[in-house]
């Protein structure tokens, strides 16, 4: 018997959510005023939840480690957000978004959650526009859309290459409005270090004031974690430098199961690594694949410049292998295909670990259209390129500038060089249909939870999930729990459980400062990252994973005996913050490898070399592995596996083909 219950409402898939909403117990307004909710995180998931819960009348405390909620990592999302609006009249629907997401996730997501996500997606766009988010428009004044990988409709809404920024600023302004009215108390530059449990329920957190170093106790009738993803376990990733797993990991130690940790999304279009000084990798939005064609030379070790390689000596390998989707295959497929070509010796650039993303053909095509609009007959190539470049600039200008800034090359003239990089983590805290973890009263939203994406996330779906959770799901589902808590008075923070949690947090900080070893935190982080990338990255095998586990265990020992953290715990000390986060990454890294080793199949972002088709595609084992792996932390690196069987009642599981 499994210890977990996903609490999926009975009834037909398409009516589950509406029925749930109309039958869920409500909390009356006067009771809401005395119920306190802690929201950790102010990204799309956290800010939207905190603002909405405050609008509903709850007392909210919101936390983030940056100096302002506006700087949460969601700000960096580039390409867009999906919604089943069918504004383009190209046959989109709730069902189709649901279907694409389940298939894109390689049949490892929960049907009921994904359907709900598709249902509320349309409301998200309405909400954001009402807040004044300036999404891209057509000349007629209506909203514009583009396509992302893994779909054949145009359902992606965007704001140039700065969609996340605009959506987050929308949610942030809603949050600031509530802060201004005194309904949300905001704690910036605060880091949550422990979950406080009383009688088995989450009742608060221990947070560290990062400026003074003071540990603070905060009570809440419920605690919501919207603390983002853990891709930085790989050291190099597209994530912001501060993104970390600490909140989720501490929750895991308090009894919240961690689900599918090994599902990591590798994004196919990032700027390749240029040297070992690099601190992070930069994404070039997937939307570029709308207009960029991906190729490598047909000849091995070709050292000619891209411009010197004639058309018939280029291998447009995605278009060749996947004619139906071409350059718009899902990310896992595109990433593996790039790796395959580079491993086979066809990579380009100094490191040979890159492929070309070429805009020339489409620039010329746009130029022809513009010329026709301007009434220019038989335009020459140069005119086309000039006019087309203006169109490309309007669509992707900031991305092209970013590329030029980082590489020192002009992408309008030569094709971009791109390579896959760690981008998004589909795993996270296990949650039920209500977004509650296995600890009663502890909720988890956005990238920090595991739900909705399965083994692979389609582009433009994370923003959608973060906002769906925060604006439209959690505010309903949390009422079910809180309606039974109205008689609970605020628990004073001198309760022994608070003291105990605080002592635990303090113990870790003091230990880290006290080691006074010889190596910096970054030294250990880089080592961990290399192990993870080599052995639990784009491709894994049993032997590699076993050795990775042993190496990580050794690294953990070295870390706790030889790390050097300067300064003290009672001051502003970013190195100490980093040390705590890397300590948690090391433990999580081990669990990721354990999870990857357990899953004897390939699916989505999890590619086990032992399990592939003759053509090199991922080979799922639906008999053996159609489950969510939820790991219970038993302490000292011991984990117990709980399985949530996934039932596909509405979609027929099929081989995932994009050919």
């Amino acid at each position: 018997m499994s210890a977990i219950n996903s609490n999926i409402p009975e009834g037909e898939l398409t009516t589950k959510w509406t029925k749930f909403k109309s039958s869920v117990p409500l909390v009356n307004p006067s009771n809401k005023r005395s119920l306190e909710i802690i929201v950790v995180g102010s990204g799309l998931a956290g800010a939207s939840a905190a603002a909405t819960l405050a609008e509903m009348g709850y007392k909210v405390k919101c936390f983030c480690f940056q100096d302002s909620p506006r700087r949460a990592h969601s700000i960096a999302a580039q390409g867009g957000i999906n919604a089943a609006k069918n504004y383009q009249n190209d046959g989109d629907s709730t069902y189709r978004l649901f279907y694409d997401t389940i298939k894109g996730g390689d049949y490892r997501a929960r049907e009921a959650n994904v359907h709900r996500l598709a249902e509320v997606s349309a409301n998200i766009i309405d909400q954001c526009v009402a807040q004044g988010v300036p999404l891209a428009r057509e000349y007629g004044g209506l909203l514009d859309n583009r396509s992302f990988g893994g779909t054949q409709v145009q359902r992606t809404f965007y704001a140039a290459g700065q969609t996340g920024q605009q959506l987050l600023l929308g949610a942030y302004s809603a949050l600031e409005r509530q802060i201004g009215m005194g309904k949300v108390e905001m704690f910036t530059r605060h880091e949550m270090l422990e979950v406080v449990k009383i009688d088995g329920k989450a009742r608060g957190i221990i947070a560290r004031n990062l400026i003074t170093g003071e540990l603070e106790r905060h009570f809440g009738h419920a605690v919501v974690l919207g603390t983002g993803g853990y891709g930085n376990v790989f050291y190099l990733s597209t994530n912001a430098m501060g993104s970390n797993v600490t909140a989720a990991w501490k929750a895991n130690k308090q009894g919240a199961f961690f689900a599918n940790p090994c599902y990591t999304q590798i994004h196919p279009t990032c700027i390749p690594v240029s040297g070992d000084h690099q601190s992070k990798l930069t994404l070039m939005s997937e939307s570029l694949r709308n207009d960029g064609r991906i190729w490598v030379p047909k000849k091995k070790d070709d050292t000619r410049k891209a411009s010197e390689i004639p058309e018939d000596e280029r291998d447009y390998y995605l278009e060749r292998r996947y004619p139906a989707f071409g350059n718009l295959v899902p990310r896992d497929v595109a990433s593996r295909a790039a790796k395959e070509r580079c491993d086979a010796g066809y990579g380009v650039g100094a490191s040979k670990l890159a492929v070309y993303l070429d805009f020339k053909a489409n620039t010329e095509r746009y130029g022809k259209i513009e010329a026709a609009k301007a009434g220019i007959q038989n335009p020459d190539k140069e005119t086309c390129m000039r006019l087309g470049t203006a169109v490309v600039k309007e669509k992707y200008g900031n991305l092209f500038d970013m590329y030029a800034q980082i590489t020192g090359e002009n992408p309008y003239e030569t094709p971009m060089r791109i390579y896959p990089a760690v981008h998004y983590t589909m795993g996270g805290l296990w949650v039920d249909y209500n977004l509650m973890t296995t600890v009663p009263g502890l909720y988890c939203t956005g990238e920090a939870n595991f739900s909705d994406h399965g083994a692979n996330r389609l582009g433009a779906s994370a923003l959608m999930q973060g906002l769906a959770d925060g604006y439209f799901v959690l505010p309903y589902t949390i009422g079910q729990y809180l309606s039974k808590e109205i008689s609970v008075k605020a628990i004073p923070t001198d309760h022994p459980a608070f003291a105990e949690a605080e002592a635990k947090a303090k113990g870790i900080l003091d230990t880290l400062i006290g080691i006074k070893g010889t190596k910096s935190v970054d030294h250990f982080h880089k080592k961990l990252g290399l192990i993870m990338w080599d052995k639990c990255g784009m491709a894994r095998n049993a032997e590699g994973l076993k050795s990775a586990i042993a190496e990580i265990q050794q690294l953990k020992k070295d870390f706790w005996s030889d790390v050097r953290v300067p300064g003290s715990a009672d001051e502003y000390n970013p190195e100490l913050e980093k040390a705590g986060r890397v300590a948690d990454f090391i433990e999580l890294g081990e669990l990721m490898c354990i999870d990857a080793l357990n899953r004897n199949e390939s699916c989505g972002g999890h590619f086990r070399e032992e399990y592939q088709t003759e053509e090199g595609e991922a080979l799922r084992d639906d008999e053996g592995y159609a489950y969510v792996a939820a790991w219970e932390n038993k302490g000292d690196g011991n984990f117990e596996l709980h399985k949530e069987e996934l039932k596909f009642e509405n979609i027929k599981i099929a081989q995932r083909s994009y050919k």
Partner: protein, 256 residues
């Protein structure tokens, strides 16, 4: 460790906390690659300081993609350094020469007190937004988004104003430490959209009042803010804000 061959001298502002007086300290860095970002160069220096048992230099940063607005420092007397329209994290060492001496200081403004070394407190910006930088719409009350057509030019103009990353370079570079460019960007974004109209004049009054309360100075049309803004936010926004501010006074006098 690193891969390049640039050698540089850095003069960096060190200040233990808000109360400390602070001073410039010299550092040498070697083997810097022109492909490194300015912050990666700082990482190398910090790694060195930690190994030697010194305190690393504290600076704010997060996305390292030029979008979160967190990184902030004066480099050779200019916010975000010598290049136009980039943030410090997007500034690369190829913008400097081997042997250069580079002076690095924190943002300077009364409303942005130094927390430590190069890190300053910019929470005043949040309080200005909390005073009115929003549209009062509760979750779940929105009409269908396409029932509100917005001409492309207008949507694009709103987007351009909305691209402000809240970095504070405009304040830091202004001789009056004025926050007008930042505040006017938000006011313009919302004033250009139909959704922003109902609260348009109340918004400008509330935000300006909060801006003054935070201790930001006044705008004397020098234009340093526009010149140093990494996102190219235009001075036109300030003009729009001023117009709205005077209209607002007029309107409230009429109503009063």
């Amino acid at each position: 460790m690193s891969t390049g061959n640039m050698n540089l001298t850095l003069k960096v502002w060190r200040q233990k906390n808000t109360k400390d007086k602070g001073k410039m300290v010299d550092y040498k860095v070697a083997d810097i690659s022109p492909d490194m970002s300015f912050l990666e160069m700082f990482d190398v220096l910090n790694e060195d300081l930690i190994t030697k048992g010194d305190d690393p230099i504290v600076f704010d940063h997060d996305c390292r993609e030029g979008i979160c607005g967190m990184c902030s420092m004066f480099i050779n007397g200019r916010p975000h350094g010598p290049k136009d329209a980039v943030t410090t994290c997007q500034l690369h060492m190829r913008s400097f020469k081997d042997g250069d001496t580079i002076v690095v200081e924190p943002w300077r403004a009364k409303a942005f007190p130094v927390i430590k070394d190069l890190t300053v407190d910019r929470s005043a910006f949040d309080r200005v937004i909390a005073a009115g930088g929003f549209i009062s719409v509760n979750t779940g009350n929105a009409q269908d988004a396409n029932n509100l057509p917005i001409p492309k030019a207008q949507a694009d103009a709103a987007f351009e104003a909305a691209a402000c990353i809240g970095c504070g370079a405009c304040v830091a570079t202004c001789k009056n430490a004025s926050a007008m460019l930042f505040v006017s960007a938000k006011i313009s974004q919302l004033a250009l959209l139909p959704q922003g109209q109902p609260e348009r004049y109340k918004r400008v009054q509330n935000m300006v009042a909060q801006m003054d309360a935070e201790g930001f100075g006044n705008c004397t049309n020098t234009g340093a803010c526009e010149a140093e803004c990494p996102k190219g936010i235009s001075l036109e926004n300030i003009a729009r804000m001023n117009r709205d501010y005077y209209s607002a006074k007029f309107i409230s006098e009429e109503e009063g």
